[in-house]
């Protein structure tokens, strides 16, 4: 395949990785393994070394930004250390009861924070109301509970929420300009590229989006139903889906039933750290039906590509080129 054709895409990938490394190396407590991995990454090509040098220079420049927004000494946020430690909160489990006992204003301060997973990771977390969420690979959420509304912003990726009943404060997942609301129930919201998919596995979920949040722009999902919407648009008609395969990721599986090859590869790509580049002449590829384990996503990509007579070139941690 023509290397130049994908050259800029690959450069972009390298620049992103270079910035990942800058931030990681500036974390403090860098491990020997990380340092070795970094050196191996940078040694891959002169392009990698150049990209790192460029981002390093920028990072140094950023040391001189106006820090006046920050108090002289970093002020610790009020954090009820004795009540609930954030560690426990992240791991999930038996914190629900004690979290509920924390006074509301405090919850407001320390709850406004993010959860994020990396490629191939799944993390479950308990929210202060006792609701739980399971974050799939490459996902990020921002929790913003306030009186009368349990708001969670899904920044990207896919998360399943199990909502504790509370009629006084509905549970809302906001993503790409639309809202998925429930008083109780279990539902998964996925925000990939410009599209949000909401799948209900228990309870009744109300999905709204578009210019006006009126009845015309709202659909209601019952168990086993799904809807989608594009950024800022109204949700599409409700469809019945097979929950087993739609939510197979919860059990670490990906299930394809007659899925176009390119979107199947894209789906698997969410579970690997590399960026995927697919040669353009694949539009006539046949649909794919298969079950893969998400932890073997690299093998799955290779296997899928082989079924289409394509080959896979992988630069670990950087890019996978399928041609």
């Amino acid at each position: 395949m023509g290397k130049g054709q994908h050259g800029s895409e690959i450069d972009r990938g390298i620049a992103l990785d270079a910035r990942d490394w800058i931030v990681r190396l500036s974390a403090g407590n860098v491990s020997r393994q990380d340092l070795d991995r970094f050196n191996a990454w940078r040694a891959q090509s002169p392009g990698h070394a150049r990209a790192f040098a460029r981002e390093k220079e920028f990072w140094q420049l950023l040391q001189n930004v106006d820090g006046s927004g920050l108090d002289v000494a970093p002020v610790a946020m009020p954090m009820p250390r004795s009540a609930v430690s954030r560690r426990k909160f992240l791991v999930g489990g038996a914190v629900a009861a004690s979290a509920a006992a924390v006074a509301a204003p405090r919850v407001l301060t320390w709850m406004r924070s993010d959860f994020a997973t990396g490629a191939g990771e799944q993390v479950s977390a308990t929210l202060p109301d006792g609701s739980t969420m399971l974050l799939n690979t490459n996902s990020a959420v921002d929790v913003d509970f306030r009186p009368g509304l349990r708001l969670v912003n899904l920044l990207s990726g896919e998360v399943e929420f199990s909502v504790r009943p509370d009629t006084r404060a509905p549970f809302r997942v906001a993503a790409l300009g639309g809202n998925s609301d429930a008083v109780e129930g279990t539902y998964a919201v996925r925000s990939i590229a410009d599209e949000v998919t909401v799948t209900a596995s228990a309870g009744r979920i109300s999905v709204s989006g578009g210019a006006k949040a009126d009845a015309a722009n709202t659909v209601s999902l019952a168990t086993g139903q799904q809807t989608r919407y594009l950024t800022g648009k109204a949700p599409l008609a409700v469809a019945d889906v097979n929950l087993e395969s739609e939510l197979a990721w919860r059990g670490g599986r990906v299930v394809f039933e007659g899925k176009p090859f390119v979107s199947a590869i894209g789906e698997l790509g969410r579970y690997v750290p590399e960026r995927l580049v697919i040669a353009t002449h694949t539009h006539d590829a046949s649909p794919v039906s298969a079950v893969f384990l998400t932890r073997d996503a690299h093998d799955a990509i290779e296997a899928l590509a082989q079924t289409q007579g394509m080959s896979v070139h992988r630069v670990p941690g950087v890019v996978i080129v399928i041609s």
Binding site: R19, V23, L25, S26, V30, Q60, L61, G67
Partner: protein, 167 residues
């Protein structure tokens, strides 16, 4: 098999071990780590009976634990020095022209920073300007290390986009 003799010896010698390690490392938190490490080393000993002098054995274990800590600290310092080296630029790379360019860029960056979410901006500044580690920020704000990384990474990405769009 009984470990009581070694454990008894540890209990008796504990104040001495603490004094010894504190004198050497001069930091009570580290000293406590070493004492704990000593205990772990001793509790892993299988054949208590084969030891003649339990006091000497216990003190040797404490010394070994202390040496282990020094080595670990040394490795930490080496890694930190290497990372520092990686992230710092040699002086001859900075030209006056580049400094001027930097000033314009800096103004644009300052402006862009003002528009970013308060929390992300704050975490970024704590790390980049005040040099606070991710772990320490995480501890202070009561969030995870990954969340700290994510905030900073998000800010850096946006600023890099700004840089790239300005040519």
């Amino acid at each position: 098999m009984t470990l009581t003799r070694l454990m008894t010896s540890f209990a008796t010698l504990r104040p001495r071990i603490e004094a010894l390690t504190r004198g050497r490392v001069g930091c009570s938190a580290t000293s406590e780590d070493i004492v704990q490490d000593t205990w772990i080393r001793l509790s892993n000993v299988r054949h208590d009976d084969a030891i003649d002098n339990h006091a000497a054995f216990t003190m040797q274990a404490a010394k070994n634990a202390a040496i282990g800590h020094f080595r670990k600290q040394q490795r930490r310092n080496e890694i930190d020095a290497e990372v520092n080296e990686l992230l710092s630029t040699s002086v001859d790379e900075i030209s006056p022209e580049r400094i001027v360019m930097g000033r314009d860029m800096l103004r644009a960056v300052d402006k862009a920073l003002q528009t970013m979410p308060e929390r992300s901006r704050r975490i970024f500044l704590m790390n980049r300007v005040n040099g606070v580690s991710h772990r320490e920020i995480a501890r202070q704000l009561g969030i995870s290390d990954e969340a700290v990384y994510y905030h900073i990474r998000r800010v850096v990405e946006r600023l890099a986009e700004l840089r790239d769009s300005n040519g």
